[in-house]
């Protein structure tokens, strides 16, 4: 029997050969394509969401303009109006609001919880690429006459399958974000001490994980049914859309807006410079709002289901967490100071629009307040479109506000403060003009079926909505212009422009690959940077 031994010098030589050539790190496009850095992935999400978002806002503007003359088709055709309506509604959630918030969370959450990486970084990267390709295929499905109400069988199949890819990608991102908050905190940073934005993202991610699989299951059923002869979702492909409408009405639509509450808490606490005495109340309020936004059980609801105690109770109770959070934040200013910053205007604007939507949702859930529109069910009342728009617009304003507030972490220097103050004011005005006319028309018992062009509402109100959406688009453009400095390197860019209280402000601008240059301090409270200042 032969014994083969490798001489020691050969092993050494082999090891030396393998270890010595240090592979150079890819840069530019190659680095972006293969990156597992949460900041790079987050930035990709943000940029893509803003680009696709403007397209979706443009579609919405078209519908509002269409509604000014409800009896005629002025912009969209008879064949495409319903399809484009569904694209506008799906797009605002899946192509704009959710990816914008996910992108922001991908950048900020690991920094806030003191982690050097996001949990499952490659899954986070896959979630972005999956979402991007899913979005492209979704748009492609409409381009080939697909989507609900589409005339092409392949296009309808592609719409269902691409929706599935979008949902899976969002779920993957939610898993990464939630796991980061739960499992990657440093010693001493208990969940009770986690910054409110991260806490709100944890709650939002959990709620997405609990509800979006229901949508995925529904999409699987739709696909199988559509391929095998439409025996469940009987009728035309347009019959598919009512089955996913639960996503866009309250309470489910509130899951998109949960991070609004976290942004408000974090921004107001930072400008006050004080410890939050009612932190427990604020955390409980965010958690309760998350809980009350669970709406997956309203898949294809009956009239009896919408009038059930549970739906009414959830609708009415949803206002309370918002008021509790507002009280917790107001209490901060008894001990601290107040400085007006663009971030504050963004956060307050987003909160006010959300409060408007949730209060309207509470009113709408009271039996007999709203009438079913002529020729439709109660769920078709345009009032719920207003509530849905409020939640989505609040999420978008919060997303833009978060980018402004954490500009030195998202980009290379702070955003323009002057434009940053103007943008949320324009967005607030635009959002109010978009939401309120639909709420008024809904109280009058109006529905989407009333008009031939599927716009709903009244001509005068729709003119206001058109102006509102145009203002929202203008607000987004102003915000994007205010973000342009983020692209430019500045050597003296401050790491902490606001006098922050939480760990993310310890990172330099822009943050390096492993986030923190020095070792983190031992966390002994929810405001570790106040502790650090008190020690020195």
């Amino acid at each position: 029997m032969a014994l083969t031994e490798t001489p020691p010098e050969t092993v050494d030589a082999a090891s030396a050969t393998d270890a010595s050539p240090t592979p150079s790190q890819p840069t530019g496009l190659a680095a972006v394509l293969g990156s597992g850095d949460h900041k790079v992935i987050g930035r990709l999400y943000i940029v893509s969401a803003l680009v696709l978002g403007l397209l979706v806002v443009g579609l919405g503007e078209g519908f509002a303009l269409e509604g000014i003359k409800p009896e005629t088709y002025d912009i969209y055709g008879l064949d495409s109006a319903f399809q484009l309506f569904t694209l506008a509604r799906i797009g605002t959630v899946f192509l704009l609001a959710l990816p914008l918030l996910i992108g922001l969370a991908m950048v900020v959450v690991p920094l806030q919880v003191g982690s050097r990486a996001i949990a499952f970084p490659r899954a986070a990267a896959a979630s972005y690429w999956g979402w991007l390709l899913g979005a492209a295929l979704l748009l492609g499905s409409y381009a080939i006459n697909g989507g609900p109400g589409g005339g092409s069988a392949e296009g309808v199949d592609l719409w269902i399958a691409s929706m599935g890819l979008l949902v899976l990608s969002v779920l993957l991102a939610a898993v990464s974000i939630a796991t980061t908050v739960i499992a990657l905190r440093p010693a001493g940073l208990y969940l009770a001490r986690v910054p409110l934005f991260s806490w709100s993202m944890l709650i939002a991610s959990i709620m997405w994980l609990l509800t979006l699989p229901v949508l995925f299951g529904l999409l699987v059923l739709m696909y199988v049914d559509h391929r095998l002869g439409d025996s469940v979702f009987v009728g035309s492909p347009a019959a598919l859309y009512p089955n996913i409408q639960w996503l866009f009405r309250n309470p489910q639509i509130y899951v998109v807006a949960i991070p609004v509450l976290g942004l408000l808490g974090d921004v107001l606490q930072t400008v006050s410079g004080a410890r939050m005495k009612l932190r427990g109340v604020a955390q409980a309020a965010i958690a309760a709002f998350g809980l009350l936004s669970f709406g997956a059980f309203l898949v294809a609801p009956s009239e009896a289901a919408l009038d059930s105690f549970l739906v009414i109770g959830m609708g009415l109770l949803a206002v309370l967490p918002l008021l509790a959070l507002a009280a917790s934040c107001a209490d901060l200013f008894r001990a601290g100071s107040f400085k007006l910053r663009a971030g504050v205007i963004y956060a307050v604007a987003a909160f006010l629009i959300l409060l408007l939507g949730v209060a309207a949702g509470a009113v709408g859930s009271i039996p007999d307040v709203l009438d079913a529109p002529k020729g439709g069910a109660l769920a078709d009342n345009i009032f719920f479109l207003g509530v849905s728009h409020a939640a989505i617009l609040a999420a978008v304003i919060a997303g833009l506000g978060g980018i402004h507030w954490w500009a030195t972490k998202v980009g290379r220097q702070p955003a323009s403060e002057g434009l940053g103050m103007l943008a949320p004011l324009v967005l607030l005005l635009g959002a109010a003009l978009t939401v309120i006319p639909d709420l008024i028309a809904g109280i009058a018992g109006d529905g989407l079926q009333r008009n031939a062009d599927f716009t709903g509402g009244y001509a005068g109100g729709n003119a206001a909505v058109a102006a509102g959406i145009a203002l929202v688009a203008l607000g987004v453009v102003i915000a994007v212009v205010s973000f342009l400095p983020l692209l430019k390197r500045r050597d003296d860019a401050p790491a902490d422009p606001w006098g922050g209280l939480t760990l993310e402000w310890l990172t330099p601008t822009p943050p390096p690959l492993d986030n923190f240059v020095a070792d983190l301090p031992v966390v002994t409270s929810a405001e570790p940077l106040i502790d650090q200042r008190e020690e020195t």
Binding site: G28, R122, E154, A305, S308
Partner: protein, 285 residues
């Protein structure tokens, strides 16, 4: 034991269960008369009605899943770093590793998922390609996840991974790449007009030769430029191939010859049927 995260999930579980009962009663259309009304929802429909089945089921599942997650979080102390450190006998838990090396498998996985989605709508070939891509991406991703954690040095990790996987990856990638390239180019050549196919036949090798010379003479060419060139070229050829395959082959001159060739090769010939008024003479041997 019961910390913030687990408390939230216990709360969701309780909410889901109570909500399921309230919802079952509210949508059941039954009179509220004592324990009988509750019996159906509490026994999950075994001893009575539960109203709207879909909503009831989703709320019960919400409750069960949340309870399971809450128990897991309680057991792990909400993944508290200090508790974990005690379990593994360390003072602190090591930081999560930063993903140092570029990893292209997530994007390959995403493209595979997109191919599956397209295949579900358009055709089974794309679905199969997507499934194969997803399987390869999953295996490679798993290997990368393992190799990222072998040692604390990312450079050594990359070396170990390369030594293990390159003997498999490079030949397979070469075969797949060349196969796809040849298939796409052949579709393009078959679809283009005769003169166009001559141009493409000359142009594509010239471009490949030019890019090859560029890479060889400029060894310091950035990876991004190379990646961009390869991506652009790959997409152009594949998109051209797919478009050409959809458009179909050009009409060949002398279709009769094709049938003849086929007959010579032992294939089946399409025999034209006689016109209605045509006389057919049968000759018996």
């Amino acid at each position: 034991m019961f910390k913030t995260g687990s408390k939230f999930l216990y709360g969701v579980a309780a909410f889901g269960f109570v909500a399921a009962i309230v919802y079952a009663i509210a949508t059941g259309g039954q009179k509220v008369d004592g324990i009988d009304t509750l019996l159906g929802p509490i026994t999950f429909g075994y001893k009575g009605g539960v109203g709207d089945h879909v909503g009831f089921t989703i709320l019960v599942v919400l409750s069960a899943v949340s309870f399971f997650l809450a128990v897991v979080l309680s057991a792990l102390h909400d993944a508290d770093a200090e508790a974990e450190a005690q379990v593994v006998g360390l003072e602190t838990v090591p930081d999560a590793p930063t993903p140092f090396n570029a990893n292209y498998w997530p994007i390959v996985g995403a493209f595979s998922a997109a191919a599956i989605v397209l295949g579900l709508a358009i055709g089974s070939e794309l679905f199969v390609i997507g499934c194969v891509g997803a399987a390869i991406a999953t295996a490679e991703w798993a290997i990368s996840a393992w190799s990222d954690r072998i040692t604390g040095d990312p450079v050594v990790n990359a070396g170990i991974r390369a030594r293990m996987m390159h003997p498999i990856e490079i030949p397979v990638a070469a075969v797949l790449g060349i196969g796809l390239f040849v298939a796409a180019i052949s579709r393009i050549l078959l679809a283009l007009p005769k003169n166009g196919s001559y141009v493409v036949f000359g142009l594509v090798p010239a471009i490949i030769f030019g890019v090859g010379i560029l890479i060889v003479t400029k060894p310091k060419l950035s990876r991004s430029v190379i990646a961009g060139l390869l991506l652009f070229g790959g997409f152009a050829v594949l998109a051209g191939g797919v478009a050409a395959a959809i458009a179909g082959e050009r009409k060949h001159e002398g279709g009769h010859d094709d049938a003849k060739h086929e007959a010579e090769a032992g294939g089946r010939i399409a025999v034209s049927l006689p016109e209605p008024g045509q006389t057919v003479i049968r000759v018996a041997n």
